[in-house]
């Protein structure tokens, strides 16, 4: 009963919180925190007592859950992050209480949906909860209901829906091709049937569907927009865990369907590299605290995807050990990134909470004499930059090790992998550079406005005790997870194998990769950031405004190009361009034929008078009637006018229909004989 409790309790808690919160807001806050706490304990118990759970009949297919090392760890991390962000939120939302009940309601719903995804045993269940959390987390993005928030919310929704539907298509393709959606049965199905074209198409769709949520290029556009505008606890969750939901889906299909498919591996690797590099670059250019962190998330997702790609390539090349390294690396990096972003976004929240701004110039020097905030941020920054002794170092080294293994094992495209290795190292360097930029800006430099700096300095404590404990406490995990022994245990538990027990984190070869990265980072900071991005003492945004995938390509395509094309089609086929002319042509033909027939009698008489009766001077009888063409034109117009204005237009259409039939009949007869 542990699994259904973990998944469905938050849904129940959300409803309860909303009901009670309506009556008494303060009680609603406490209840939300209590629900998260009550969720955390059973989630931990899952680590020791796994199991399976299935409900048949829902949506005709049924939903099913299972547990293994990776799923359990992520269930715990989700519960942990929710607990911490909710506790932090108690202070964060103290003064901005607008829509707070809505916030708790949707936060708790999303918790349930996230646990549902993380414990799902088949793609259908994953999809169901994935869609739920896509829509519930939309309300996080628009929570503040400012113009930017709503605009970002629309983008988020747009991508979420597109991702959901592409995923749906992929899921159906996989179901049709493999006959099952259960992850475990997919293994056997793939072994029996191989990767056919349909399976591959389905896999690509699934990759893009989940990739949209993970922030994979080219569906990353929502990420740098949505994270900064959401309230900080929400940004922490969006970045720390919701992106991982996407990764979860990608990882599951990769491991169970495509683990030996080189083409798929290459695709994931390339997309991962692009995401990694582009994210880091965007982060370096950004002048907004949370936007930098958001772009950094995107970049870290790229690292994880790169690891996924390497895992596939190495498995396909037959290197068990290398694949194990890559898998451990990417799973550990997922864990690390979740926890690091939790700390960093909460630290950013502590800044926003007080000074309601995120622009680097305005918050410059805020943290100069706030030791806990400074320490927490520093630990997070050290972790994410991959500095030895902190957690990010180990996972990044493993990922790097995976690429190095790949260069040795997959000789066919060793040169390509060598390039990726450098992209990897440079992206790692950028990570260090932008974190350095943030840290120095917030905690070392003084604000250019001396009065403002004085205000900052006067304020000794930025958070109350609870928030401080939460933020600082979460940052201590960076050190705990920086120990190789802990990480090895964790990796063994998550992957279920002992592949990296031999791995030595601080061997010279491994240190070298990390140090090269850090060196690049330091150089970039010193030469590029200090000299180019800071002009006249303030941080400037050098990213060209126009260079935005969303506004450059996606929106015009949807709003202008497609409707334009179809609109043209409509105007051609619409009644005024097609039916009325058709009717006019029919009437014209009729009048013409009638007039010709009528005149032909006259013509016959004339003919005989000229030939038989030899009336040389004979001419057509002169009448008052107007000319031939004029009659036709006028009577056509008159008829059409009459027709279009009354009911007989319908009858005319009937006639046209019957004429078409007759024409068709004649045609058919001729054709056939």
């Amino acid at each position: 009963m542990l699994i259904p409790f973990v998944v469905f309790f938050p849904f129940f808690g959300a409803v309860l919180t909303a009901l009670i919160g309506r009556k008494n807001e303060r009680a609603g806050d406490c209840l939300a925190a209590a629900v998260c706490a009550a969720e955390f304990l059973p989630a931990i118990l899952l680590l020791f007592r796994g199991g399976e759970f299935r409900i048949g009949g829902i949506m005709a297919y049924g939903i099913s859950f299972t547990t293994d090392g990776f799923r359990c760890v992520y269930a715990v991390i989700a519960a942990f992050m929710w607990l911490f962000t909710t506790l932090f939120g108690l202070e964060y939302f103290k003064e901005e209480r607008e829509h707070l009940i809505r916030w708790w309601f949707f936060v708790l719903l999303t918790l349930g949906a996230t646990e549902g995804v993380m414990l799902s045993a088949d793609l259908m269940t994953t999809f169901l909860f994935f869609e739920i959390l896509s829509f519930t987390s939309f309300t996080w993005v628009i929570h503040e209901e400012t113009r930017e928030a709503i605009s970002a919310g629309y983008t988020y929704l747009f991508i979420a829906v597109i991702g959901g539907l592409v995923l749906f298509m992929g899921m159906l393709l996989l179901k049709a091709a493999l006959g099952t959606l259960s992850f475990d049965l997919m293994d056997t199905a793939v072994r029996e049937r191989g990767i056919t074209k349909e399976v591959f198409a389905g896999g690509i769709c699934v990759l893009f569907g989940f990739g949209a949520k993970a922030g994979m290029f080219p569906l990353h556009i929502w990420l740098p927009k949505a994270h900064p505008v959401a309230p900080s606890p929400g940004s922490a969750l969006l970045s720390g865990i919701l992106t991982k939901v996407g990764i979860y889906g990608i990882l599951m299909t990769t491991m169970h369907v495509f683990s030996k498919n080189t083409g798929y591996g290459m695709l994931v690797l390339l997309l991962g590299e692009i995401t990694m590099f582009l994210g880091a670059l965007l982060a370096l250019f950004s002048v907004n605290l949370k936007r930098t962190l958001a772009c950094s998330s995107m970049s870290q997702i790229g690292f994880i995807l790169t690891g996924t790609g390497m895992y596939v390539l190495l498995t396909a090349a037959g290197s068990e050990e290398g694949a194990g390294t890559a898998l451990s690396g990417l799973m550990l990096h997922m864990v690390n990134h979740s926890l690091i972003k939790l700390t960093l976004f909460m630290a950013a929240g502590a800044v926003v909470m007080r000074i309601h701004s995120l622009t680097l110039d305005e918050i410059r020097g805020y943290g100069r004499n706030k030791p806990f905030l400074k320490a927490a941020f520093a630990l997070g920054a050290l972790g994410i930059s991959g500095v030895p002794l902190f957690n990010g170092y180990i996972s990044k080294t493993l990922l790097h090790e995976g690429i190095v293994e790949g260069i040795h094992e997959c000789t066919a495209y060793a040169s390509l992998l060598r390039v990726s290795e450098w992209v990897f190292l440079i992206s790692g360097g950028f990570t260090f550079a932008y974190m350095l930029k943030l840290f120095i800006c917030l905690f070392v430099e003084k604000n250019s406005d001396a009065v403002r700096q004085k205000e900052f300095d006067r304020e000794r404590r930025s958070m109350n005790v609870l928030s401080c404990a939460v933020v600082f406490g979460s940052s201590l995990l960076m050190i705990v997870l920086g120990q190789p022994a802990v990480m090895k245990k964790l990796a063994a538990f998550m992957t279920g194998s002992e592949e990296i027990s031999e791995f030595s984190a601080f061997a010279i070869g491994n240190l070298k990769g990390g140090l090269i990265s850090l060196g690049i980072g330091a150089a970039v900071y010193l030469f590029a950031v200090r000299n180019i991005f800071i002009r006249k003492g303030s941080y400037v945004n050098l990213w060209p405004e126009k260079l935005d995938l969303e506004f450059l390509v996606m929106r015009p395509l949807l709003v202008k190009i497609l409707p334009g094309i179809f609109g043209t089609v409509l105007s051609v086929f619409g009644e005024n361009k097609l039916l009325i002319p058709l009717a006019r042509a029919a009437v014209f033909l009729g009048t013409f034929a009638g007039r010709v027939l009528a005149d032909s009698t006259d013509a016959v008489i004339l003919f005989f008078r000229k030939t038989i009766f030899k009336e040389r001077k004979a001419a057509a009888p002169k009448t008052d009637l107007p000319g031939f063409w004029w009659t036709i034109r006028e009577s056509t117009a008159e008829t059409i006018g009459l027709l279009a204005q009354n009911f007989s237009f319908a009858l005319l259409m009937t006639c046209i229909g019957i004429l078409l039939i007759l024409g068709g009949l004649v045609f058919m007869m001729l054709f056939h004989s």
């Binding site: 999809f127 749906f168 409707p563 179809f566 609109g567 229909g657 039939i661 058919m668």
Partner: protein, 489 residues
């Protein structure tokens, strides 16, 4: 039970509805009680007939041999008649409230009730002649409903509606004649009722005329323009007739013709099948994009209806049992969803007097129930799991992929893409209602704007509950429909 009882649900509303005109009620309440009583009684008889009447055909009147008016109940009639028999009484409630201020209500309700009987006639008909007869009658009886407001716009809409539906029916007439000549008088027999000895090419031609002819009522691509224009009608008409009864009778007729007269064997794999499939696929994409362009709330929904009708046509034209299951399921489910959408749109228009999408900004906080349900219905229409739309979309796309040809897969992709566009045109409305970018205060200071009356909310909430029930536990309905598609019912 005597199969002649089938006549009761057809004649009762026709006569009962007609009597409203000579009775010319002065008191709105009396008229409402009378009309509702007729409709409810009819629904009772429908269910009695569905559950109790034997499956034998009953011939009411025979013109010549093999040319008669015959009724019979089978799976498809059960589905269609069962569906509208639940919807009609509920939407009548809505109509009483909605039409309260309108003129000429006697005429309106007379035709509204009569349409019910005619639609049941379509559902119960046992051969092409009977179907065609009621099909034409349906066109005629609904014209006064479209032109009800009597202003220039609705007159124009009425003319256009008449032109399209009557013209379309004349196309279908050829198919009716051909099947009557070469088949068992066009009797509906699952798997086809054509005898040997016809010219296949000519028959194919008849089929394609029939497809587009009957397809006119379900707004298939080149013959669709009447549907958005007909949004000028009062909302109960747009909701019940132009989203469910009339347009679904088009789908119903195409399905009947395809599976019960021509038979799938003859058509499968021919270019005719692919022409029809691709027309439908293009039509559904086209309509979805047009819906995004459209600013008028009801016309936008009308384009969405067109798109969804083309889903059904596409799915039916896959000519597999799965395809038929998907198409019929979507007929039912789309009916429920679109009913919600239109009724919500009607509630908005009734309460605020506004018609355009940009006038929705911020009204969600004033009408939370209406727009929450509107949002749920939109999610359902997109195909989000746990709502009914997901179920039918699942079946349609699975059928399209399972069909095997490249056309099928292309159509499946078209379905998914149009579902995405559907999200754009549906959710922007909800987003505007709840989270407007600007004009947040349009309805803020105005104390007059609040939820519509109870009579209008009851059907909306009811359909929402039905929608979620089907979405969570679709087993029985899917079984029922796949039994129809398997030829068992």
């Amino acid at each position: 039970m005597n199969p002649l009882i089938l006549l009761v649900p057809i004649l009762l509303p026709v006569i009962g509805g007609f009597l409203i005109i000579p009775a010319s009620f002065k008191d709105a309440k009396k008229r409402a009680y009378y009309a509702e009583a007729v409709v409810v009684l009819t629904s009772v008889f429908v269910w009695l007939a569905l559950l109790r009447v034997s499956r034998d055909p009953v011939t009411v009147y025979s013109f010549t041999s093999g040319f008669s008016i015959t009724f019979r109940i089978d799976g498809m009639s059960m589905l269609f008649a069962g569906m509208i028999s639940v919807m009609w009484p509920l939407v009548m409630l809505y109509a009483f409230e909605y039409m309260k201020e309108s003129k000429r209500q006697n005429g309106f309700f007379a035709f509204y009730v009569m349409t019910y009987g005619i639609t049941l006639g379509i559902a119960f008909s046992a051969d092409m002649i009977t179907l065609y007869l009621f099909y034409e009658m349906l066109s005629l009886v609904t014209i006064p409903l479209v032109t009800h407001y009597g202003n220039h716009e609705s007159q124009y809409a009425g003319r256009k509606y008449a032109a399209y539906t009557i013209g379309g029916a004349s196309l279908a007439f050829f198919a009716v004649v051909m099947t009557t000549l070469y088949g068992d008088a066009g009797t509906f027999i699952f798997g086809g009722s054509l005898h040997e000895g016809f010219n296949t090419r000519l028959m194919m031609f008849a089929f394609i005329l029939g497809f587009f002819g009957f397809g006119t009522k379900s707004a298939v691509f080149p013959l669709f323009d009447w549907l958005p224009t007909a949004s000028a009608a009062p909302t109960p008409v747009t909701a019940l007739l132009h989203a469910v009864a009339v347009v679904n009778s088009g789908i119903f007729a195409v399905t009947r013709m395809t599976y019960y007269v021509f038979g799938t064997e003859m058509l499968r794999g021919t270019s005719i099948q692919y022409i029809c499939m691709m027309t439908a696929a293009f039509s559904l994409l086209f309509a979805a994009v047009m819906a995004v362009r459209e600013k008028h709330f009801k016309r936008r929904l009308a384009f969405s209806t067109m798109s969804n009708l083309s889903y059904m046509l596409f799915s039916v034209m896959l000519l597999t049992p799965e395809g038929m299951t998907g198409g019929l399921l979507h007929m039912l489910i789309h009916g429920v969803i679109k009913m919600m959408l239109f009724l919500c749109a009607g509630a908005f228009m009734h309460v605020t007097g506004n018609n355009y999408v940009y006038e929705i900004d911020g009204v969600g906080k004033r009408m939370p129930v209406t727009f929450s349900i509107y949002t749920l219905a939109s999610l359902s229409l997109i195909g989000i799991p746990m709502f009914s739309g997901f179920i039918s979309k699942w079946h349609m796309v699975m059928a399209a992929i399972g069909e095997g040809s490249a056309w099928g897969t292309a159509g499946a992709a078209a379905l998914i893409i149009s579902a995405f566009i559907c999200a754009v045109y549906c959710l922007t409305v909800s987003a505007r209602a709840f989270f407007p970018m600007a004009g947040k205060d349009r309805y803020a200071g105005n104390g007059g704007i609040r939820e519509a009356g109870v009579l209008m909310l009851v059907p909306i909430v009811f359909f929402c509950v039905v929608d979620i029930c089907i979405g969570v536990h679709p087993g029985p309905i899917v079984d029922f429909v796949s039994r129809i598609a398997g030829g068992i019912l």
